[in-house]
């Protein structure tokens, strides 16, 4: 069964325990931040920061709502990064985690081309720009803990039960029963269908587009097809084009050759005299 996490945005108090436990469990270096006029710290995901709580202040009439949203790799059902990688360095495990083989499975095939970073619809993977031999790093769903049957470090450390770990299908059913039993919730589980669905699911009482989630792009709802299926629609034609186009060219060549006179090419050209 593929695992997932359900994030109930209404319960998060923005304590950042998840960020601390993530850094300590995964041994990620911490950096001294700069003062900034908000509560986002460090503000975005990177190779050293695999999860980050973003803060949003939403005005609804004369009411102010503060909402805190934990962001990390969404662990897509069909990950764009996996399909984009030409050495297959990202892989979706049967448990549901999307892991990076050079660091998580000791298979160092990554070339460092960063196409995965172009491919990810959520802008998640981070690159070690300051290293001579950099890795591409992101949340790995605490795959080491998952294999032992333990929930991810962030879920363990969450004091408000914002995060629920379990089988994705059960979490999805739970999410919809919560939405249907409580009118405060927006009728949308983010991650259920976006880009073919993700292992991490979010429910919220404010619209997702106000919480930094992309719900539409250029006036259209974001696609519900997985990105690998889109590229495969094009790539699957490769062998047919290779042999078909090759055959057409061979035939055309044979046909026109009979009509054309054959030249001795070596008589036609000479080096440029540039003395």
């Amino acid at each position: 069964m593929s695992k997932g996490v359900l994030v109930d945005v209404t319960r998060c108090i923005g304590c950042r325990s998840c960020q601390v436990s993530c850094k300590s469990w995964n041994d990620l270096p911490a950096k001294l931040g700069e003062f900034s006029n908000n509560w986002d710290s460090p503000g975005k995901l990177s190779a050293d920061t695999w999860t980050n709580v973003n803060y949003y202040i939403i005005e609804e009439g004369d009411q102010l709502k503060w909402r805190f949203v934990k962001k990390q790799c969404m662990h897509c059902n069909e990950p764009a990064c996996e399909s984009a990688c030409f050495t297959h360095s990202f892989v979706k495990t049967k448990e549901g985690a999307v892991i990076y083989k050079p660091t998580d499975a000791n298979k160092d095939y990554c070339v460092g081309c960063r196409y995965c970073m172009i491919a990810c619809p959520f802008g998640v993977p981070g690159f070690q720009w300051d290293k001579a031999f950099p890795y591409v790093l992101k949340c790995r769903f605490c795959y080491d803990r998952m294999q032992e049957g333990i929930e991810p470090a962030c879920v363990t450390s969450c004091p408000t039960q914002t995060l629920t770990y379990g089988d994705r299908e059960e979490l999805l059913a739970l999410a919809w029963s919560m939405i249907n039993n409580d009118p405060r919730y927006v009728k949308h589980v983010y991650g259920e269908k976006e880009y073919g669905g993700t292992s991490w699911l979010y429910i919220s009482d404010v619209p997702f587009d106000k919480l930094g989630f992309r719900t539409e792009a250029y006036g259209q709802p974001v696609t519900q097809r997985s990105i690998p299926s889109l590229t495969w629609d094009v790539l699957k034609w490769t062998p047919y084009i290779f042999f078909g186009w090759g055959a057409v060219l061979t035939i055309m060549r044979a046909y026109t050759k009979r009509r054309a006179e054959v030249h001795d090419e070596s008589e036609l050209y000479e080096p440029v005299d540039n003395k």
Binding site: I118, P125, K131, T231, V234, T256, K257, S266, L268
Partner: protein, 389 residues
């Protein structure tokens, strides 16, 4: 300057300057390998690809499109009047691919792993196809160039093998670039919802391969005229004018498919919404597609040396402009952050293209690449469309 027994290379002030650029680039390249990409480039998690991929790789490969379109016209369709430009097109193409591979090697973080995709197959990746095709095609081009090389240094045994393989290599040398020119476009299919809809399309592979193909004759024209002027020769204007027929038809088809695609996806209106993207798109279409169509369609322009040159420059710049729009303009809104290449990124780019000019000059001065002068004047049976250049 005599280089050994067989080669000469004339030194000029301009060429010394180019050599200086190459040396600066080599130094910057070494620094990048020791200290990493962050130390040399302005790339970031928001902008993982920059000048080297956007310009040197995507444009380098596109500009090398002259190789496969000329090969198709000359060696498959046997349009012999274009023979005088065939070798120059092959040479530019080969050098373009080498630039692309060098810039790719500089750009990848874990460069010592560059050979991995040959053994660990991520065949569901567009990049996998691009990687294989570009590697194979560069090999094919080196072998094709071998024929020219052996005209100078005769090795009968190898020549015999090569001659047997040549028809096969020729076909492969058109199929492979057709595949990866389109795949370079397919790379951006993953950017759905992020690449601006005026450029994102499931047809983007078609637009890329089609434009790389029609760019070919234009590139050959520009490069041929420049080379002719540099060496005080007469440009092969009748050949270039005659080639415009191919480009003209392909440009018109490109424009029609583009409009149909935009209408089909219901985003034609976005071309006129006044945004930065829409303005860039309109410039791309009007200045670099419609204007060259008009110029190529007008006999008094296309038959004049400067007329065909300017129209062809527009086509060449237009394809670069299109690739830049895909990589930068169209992605800017979705990627956030900002990116402008650092001085070292520029230095490496300038150095690489300077190197290309130097190698081009060296090869045409030492190998039979350009047509013999009397051919260019139309006195030969194989050249000339009936009037003198």
């Amino acid at each position: 300057m005599q280089l050994g027994r067989h080669f000469t290379f004339r030194m000029t002030g301009f060429r010394k300057l180019l050599i200086l650029f190459v040396l600066i680039a080599v130094a910057a390249g070494l620094y990048r390998f020791v200290f990493g990409l962050g130390a040399v480039t302005n790339l970031s998690d928001e902008w993982p690809w920059g000048l080297w991929i956007g310009f040197d790789l995507l444009c380098g490969i596109a500009l090398a499109g002259g190789g496969f379109s000329t090969a198709l016209i000359v060696h498959v369709l046997h349009k012999d009047k274009y023979l005088p430009i065939a070798r120059a097109a092959l040479l530019t193409s080969l050098l373009g691919y080498i630039i692309s591979m060098v810039s790719l090697f500089l750009d990848i973080g874990r460069w010592f792993n560059f050979w991995r995709p040959f053994f660990y197959w991520g065949f569901h990746s567009v990049l996998f196809e691009v990687f294989w095709c570009i590697s194979l095609y560069t090999t094919v081009q080196v072998l094709e160039f071998g024929e020219i090389f052996f005209e100078k240094f005769r090795v009968p045994f190898l020549q015999k093998i090569l001659h047997k393989a040549l028809p096969f290599l020729l076909i492969l040398g058109i199929v492979l670039p057709s595949l990866h020119q389109s795949s370079l476009g397919s790379l951006y299919i993953v950017a759905i919802d992020r690449l601006y809809p005026l450029w994102w399309s499931m047809l983007i592979p078609f637009f890329f391969v089609w434009s790389a193909f029609f760019l070919g004759p234009a590139m050959v024209t520009v490069e041929g005229t420049l080379a002719a002027r540099a060496y005080g020769r007469e440009p092969e204007t009748p050949v270039f004018s005659s080639l415009t027929k191919v480009t003209l038809v392909m440009l018109i088809i490109y424009l029609i498919v583009k409009i149909v695609d935009l209408v089909y996806r219901g985003v034609l209106g976005m071309a006129f919404n006044g945004s930065f993207e829409s303005n860039m798109f309109l410039i791309e279409m009007s200045l670099f597609i419609i204007l060259p169509i008009i110029m190529y369609a007008t006999p008094s322009i296309r038959n004049r040396q400067n007329g065909v040159l300017i129209a062809s420059i527009l086509v060449v710049v237009g394809v670069i402009f299109n690739r830049m729009n895909v990589v930068f303009t169209g992605m800017a809104k979705a990627m956030g952050g900002s990116y402008f290449p650092s001085i070292w990124e520029w230095a490496l780019t300038i150095g690489m293209w300077s190197g290309l000019i130097l190698v081009y000059c060296f090869i045409v001065e030492n190998f039979p690449i350009l047509a013999k002068e009397e051919h260019a004047h139309g006195s030969s049976h194989s050249v000339g469309t009936g009037f003198n250049a």
